[in-house]
Symmetry: C2
Subunit: 334 residues, 2 copies
Amino acid sequence: MPEIRVDPVHRTRVIVSSARRSRSLALRARLPVPEAEPCPFCPGNESETPREVFALRPRGTHRDGPGWEIRVFPNKYPALLPGGHGREFEKREDHIYVSMDGVGGHEVIVETPKHDLHMADMEPERIAKVLQVYTERMVKLAENSRVRYVLVFRNYGFLAGATVEHPHSQVLALPFVPPSVERELEGARTYREEHGTCVFCDVLEKEIEDGRRIVFENDKFVGFAPFASRVPYELAIYPRRHVPRFENLSEGEFVPLAEALKDVLGRVRDVLDDPAFNSVIHTSPVSTGAESRFHWHIEILPRITNVAGFEWGSGMYINIVSPEDAARHLRTIR
Amino acid sequence: MPEIRVDPVHRTRVIVSSARRSRSLALRARLPVPEAEPCPFCPGNESETPREVFALRPRGTHRDGPGWEIRVFPNKYPALLPGGHGREFEKREDHIYVSMDGVGGHEVIVETPKHDLHMADMEPERIAKVLQVYTERMVKLAENSRVRYVLVFRNYGFLAGATVEHPHSQVLALPFVPPSVERELEGARTYREEHGTCVFCDVLEKEIEDGRRIVFENDKFVGFAPFASRVPYELAIYPRRHVPRFENLSEGEFVPLAEALKDVLGRVRDVLDDPAFNSVIHTSPVSTGAESRFHWHIEILPRITNVAGFEWGSGMYINIVSPEDAARHLRTIR
């Protein structure tokens, strides 16, 4: 019998229907990203990108030259532009239609000089440095007084929307809190009113106690397949410690989080034949006064099935692999 | 300058950023659907599907045999199962996790015996018959007292989630109103409170007056690129007449709607090199007493770009082709 599951945080429903499973895990094989020649993110091709705004590079190397370890620059095709720092930006109201300037920011973080390195093959120390650069750019972009939210995400593979193969993340600074985070904040607020506790902390406790959906654990982080997973093999990484902001990650947490990411991404790659995936960090909005109720986390979405008419038309998901099966499968290796 | 646009109905934001355009309309070329051999939807292979529940077929032909014009059967891999007709269905609450039986219904409507016929190449009379079958199945599935909503959608091409190439639609009967429709109902309610009119009617009036986003018009229907289009070349078809339910389409409206669909789908195919697309009908919920405020419509989503980490993480969309440019482009032919 298919099952309708309600997400404990944002309360949206998912249909888990493993009867559909046999028909279509057809997207596992990764389609190649149609690549630019030469790769604009490779060392030596720095002039192909906008000028760098930040880099980890040894002494003696030069801005926008090779030798860097991690390099950050504005997206060449930005979804939002920085604009000025004043609080106002232009808003147009034309009867029923409201629009405003797309002010914010959009940066690319190139994670390694190596063109073809899966995050699962990076040293934990390298991933830890990437995470640290995330926090620095998030803090920096939030300095613009118009910015209400900074979203860090990663597209890996063609079907996940990547347009460059070279390992990179993106940081988008938005002049509003995006709907997914709004819903999580609202869910956390309601839950706290009803139960007096953090819904994310309670989910974590429940998952550890139950165990069926756990994929990875260390001292500081837990990786698991969420109860109401939207797509097959969806994963979440939660910090055990209740911290609203990713940006407040402490010195001693970068490497353990890097180990969690390396482990779960490696399992996804090995079990599912190197699928495309998206990952995203959900942190607290820039300044709402509501910080204490949020609990930052990472969401990982392998893209082995296609979003179809039902999803577009309904705003919800049919998942053809139960999270219990997915977690069991991901645990089989190593 | 990129622009943030607010949808007038459900109030969600879209980022329209044509700076990004140059980089990726790479998905235009249609990837083939990995096909089953023989096609289970072709005449002569009726035994490959569950037994038909409805068909348009001439006298002298037999149930589950060839000769049909349009054929309907339960989905072999249903997302939801019919179950009994009682009002209760099993609900499980396990601390923070709520789940319930996936009760509803899931049918496939094979639209033609021809395996390889784009809807744009069907006769308007055939499309009109398909639309009439939609209404009949919607009414039929709504008879189950658990069903709160019936969603009709169509997946065309691999990247739109189709698993069979043969032209078909799907009907999913849900025990709740899906979030996308909830948001539209809520938006329409708020708008009516504020303005005293139907937001869909006002959008239509505004679009006709403005003209920049119009793609098709006849006596009864208007096809246009919505102001806050989520994906490049998104289209909507609205009836000029304020009718809450698609199921109440009158006899004289089937052919004009078929002409609208044939026209806009033909333009999408010809202008964008036969892309994958999804389409969906939004109609009023089965019985909420709120019928009068809704205004049924069809949404068409060409799938020429991939949903990426930003969309998954934020719950909103970056659209790299403005709806004005899209409509102008679609109007260039014929």
